[in-house]
């Protein structure tokens, strides 16, 4: 079954960025230039945080705007990104209404969640969870 990252309760988020650094460590690298999950304050720490990550839409808009079909729909929801086909036009980034496709500063191409669940292990407060798509 297809899985996705669910944001369980964003008000539990403390903005520690552990998930962002974790996602970047998938490549064995330290930093945040390649992360596919992004946390930012909702206009200052006092207002809490926003967690942006692909929610694996059933009918993903990003797949529709990719001129080379590098972003393909995944069975059961969500997408896969084929870097060989990607020409780095950035259409997908613009098309995502929740802003969950990011720019990988190292390979200079977009990056989107692969639903691997690595980040979940590093969220100390249960904000995110790997779940089966219904």
């Amino acid at each position: 079954m297809a899985k996705r990252i669910a944001v369980v309760d964003v008000d539990l988020c403390v903005g520690c960025q552990s998930c962002m650094f974790a996602c970047n460590r998938r490549f064995g690298e330290a930093g945040i230039a390649r992360t596919a999950i992004f946390v930012q304050s909702a206009g200052g720490f006092e207002r809490g945080f926003i967690v942006k990550v692909c929610r694996a839409c059933k009918d993903p808009p990003c797949a529709k705007v990719c001129p080379t079909k590098a972003i393909m729909e995944r069975v059961g929801g969500g997408v896969r990104l084929d870097y060989k086909k990607c020409i780095a036009c950035g259409n997908c980034i613009l098309s995502c209404p929740i802003g969950a496709i990011f720019w990988d500063e190292i390979i200079k191409k977009p990056t989107v969640c692969t639903y691997c669940g690595y980040c979940v292990n590093y969220c100390p407060y249960g904000v995110i969870r790997l779940e089966e798509l219904k």
Binding site: Q17, G28, A30, G31, Q40, G43, F45, E46, P124
Partner: protein
């Protein structure tokens, strides 16, 4: 490895990048690199508020790579003590600097007009800040810059309040609204350069020589922190957890240390504040602990029925001591309002509280009269009057407030009340009265935060175990702990993770980065860095032999009983021997 130092010349609006792997190799980073840069860039005997005084920010090799490496060290010449200025802050600046690609930032010169800086991978942008100068609220300044500039989610915004603009020598720099380069007046140095704010952002990804070892070491640290008691302690209640134990053991200075106990301690305790006011917790960048506690204070509008505003106000142990217990404030709302005004104006909370406590005692004793204070009657517990007084200090309203604006050392040299002016080396005392090691620690301390050499921690252990330890042993323990802490603050990791970052662990962290560092060599490096700092202090006129010990400290019993001046002095001279040993 970090190696770039970004130099910024505010007078000519220029910047350049210097490759300094030599510096980071030899001195690690953080305070180690920072103190070396200060030796290089700060001429002898300069006026701290002159353009020559450099503002130096340094991070270490672990920032952005390992968890809890979340701090930034600022080094400068302090306008308060006219000596070494060192201040550490969390928030997001450490990681932001690393992600922007800088190990150090050195800011010199002065701008003619107010400016703020935007720093990223491409260098520096100089932005006009005339419209931000003079604003009443430092948080509004943050909001405006946040709206105008890029980097949401990965940026730090340091700024000063009006206190910094007015060159109050204990003005602080606030970062991410709730963290501070608090002590020793960095805010005034910003102000003297007409530097209102600095925004830093960047995104990068760092390849490590052994990715596997990196991931494993990372996990080991992460898990150790998550499972440690420290994590729960600092996450649940935060540093204000200390209020009750210090009160019970009679180590909590109250009402200008006329007592070491406070009857309002329960009300200001971390437990009570969390239960009644806690609105949110937040974390520094790359730190799972999230010890930042932010109270939500609902304030009614006076002339508008059913209309309220909610202010979010961060609290910690230190402001509870200085703006709460020291001023006899038992009302938690009143305490939070005091923290709020101090933050909005950009003052150091510890200094402000200690100064007002001294002024209140002076008034009680008739040393200062109501008319000196522009008709304010300073009374323990009267937070409304204290708020008015704080505004008058920042406005430099009259001679008396100008004296207060220059610190308790200065004010007491004009008005008297020296015996109860609680300052060491010209800096207002932190909130611990635990025993001999605490006060020896304050007397020789560097940045006068309680985390300096942890004399208070040593005393708490001594007191709990009820064991006797000689003055020589105390001096040695302080020296060793402070030396080790130089390593932690060169890496730069948060002291809350000090039990995890052991010499062996640090050595392993370096291995994953392809750098060989022996655990044993770290200890020696720590001592070397510490001595480097004293070299600067002594160069600028510090002497172990003439530290002023406030009489009040000797009049109020600690858990170890009354302290004797000769014991403190002996501790200082024992410590001096250790510092001078290989200087």
């Amino acid at each position: 490895m970090i190696s770039n130092v970004l130099h910024i010349d505010l007078s000519n609006k220029r910047f350049w990048i210097e490759e300094r792997s030599d510096l980071f190799k030899e001195w690690l980073g953080g305070i180690g690199a920072g103190i070396r840069l200060l030796h290089e860039d700060c001429p002898k005997n300069i006026d701290p508020l002159s353009p020559e005084n450099p503002i130096i920010f340094c991070i270490g090799p672990f920032n952005g790579i390992y968890p809890l490496a979340s701090k930034t060290v600022a080094v400068f010449k302090s306008p308060l003590t006219k000596n070494l200025g060192e201040s550490h802050a969390g928030g997001r600046c450490g990681v932001a600097m690393r992600m922007a690609g800088y190990g150090g930032i050195v800011i010199k010169g002065a701008s003619e007009k107010p400016i703020y800086l935007v720093i990223n991978e491409d260098g520096v942008k100089f932005r006009d800040a005339s419209a931000l100068w003079g604003m009443n609220s430092s948080s509004t300044v943050g909001r405006i810059i946040r709206e105008r500039e890029a980097g949401a989610g990965v940026r730090a915004i340091m700024r000063i309040g009006r206190a910094g603009e007015k060159l109050i020598p204990y003005a602080c720099v606030i970062t991410e609204t709730f963290r501070h380069f608090g002590r020793l007046g960095l805010g005034a140095v910003f102000g003297s350069k007409k530097l209102k704010a600095i925004l830093i952002h960047g995104r990068s990804s760092i390849r490590l020589s052994d990715p596997r070892l990196y991931r494993n070491t990372y996990d080991e640290i992460f898990n150790a922190v998550i499972k440690s008691g420290a994590m729960k302690k600092y996450h649940d209640i935060g540093t204000s957890l200390n209020v009750l134990p210090l009160n019970i053991s009679s180590s909590l200075p109250s009402r200008n240390l006329q007592a070491a106990k406070f009857e309002g301690a329960e009300l200001l305790s971390g437990e009570n504040l969390a239960e009644k006011f806690l609105g949110r917790r937040a974390a520094c960048a790359h730190c799972p602990v999230s010890c930042i506690h932010i109270a939500a204070l609902r304030i009614p509008y006076e002339n508008e029925p059913y209309f309220y505003k909610t202010k979010m106000i961060a609290y910690d142990y230190e402001p509870i001591y200085s703006l709460g217990c020291m001023l006899g404030i038992r009302n938690p709302e009143g305490f939070l309002k005091l923290v709020d005004i101090v933050d909005e104006l950009g003052l150091d909370a510890i200094s402000t509280g200690v100064i007002l406590a001294w002024a209140t005692e002076c008034m009680e004793r008739g040393i200062i009269e109501t008319k000196d204070a522009d008709n304010l009657v300073l009374k323990w517990g009267d937070y409304e009057t204290y708020i008015k007084a704080i505004k008058k200090i920042v406005n430099l309203e009259n001679e008396f407030y100008e004296a207060l604006a220059n610190g308790v050392e200065h004010a007491s040299s004009l008005y008297g009340g020296r015996e109860f002016a609680l300052a060491y080396g010209g800096n207002e005392m932190p909130g611990y009265h635990c025993g001999l090691a605490t006060h020896i620690g304050f007397a020789v301390g560097m940045r006068h935060s309680h985390l300096d050499n942890a004399g208070y921690d040593l005393d708490q252990k001594i007191n709990a175990e009820k064991k006797f330890i000689s003055i020589e042993e105390i001096a040695k323990a302080l020296f060793e702990e402070e030396s080790w802490r130089q390593i932690l603050s060169s890496l730069v990791v948060c002291f809350f993770s000090r039990k995890v970052y052991t010499p062996e662990m640090i050595s392993r962290c370096f291995s994953a980065m392809g750098i060989k560092v022996e655990p044993s060599e770290l200890k020696i490096k720590g001592m070397k860095i510490l001595k480097e700092k004293y070299k600067f202090k002594i160069r600028e006129g510090f002497s172990f032999d003439n530290v002023r010990i406030p009489k009040r400290v000797l009049e109020i019993p600690t858990p170890q009983g009354l302290l004797r001046e000769e014991d403190i002095r002996r501790g200082i001279s024992e410590y001096k021997k250790l510092i001078e040993a290989e200087l």
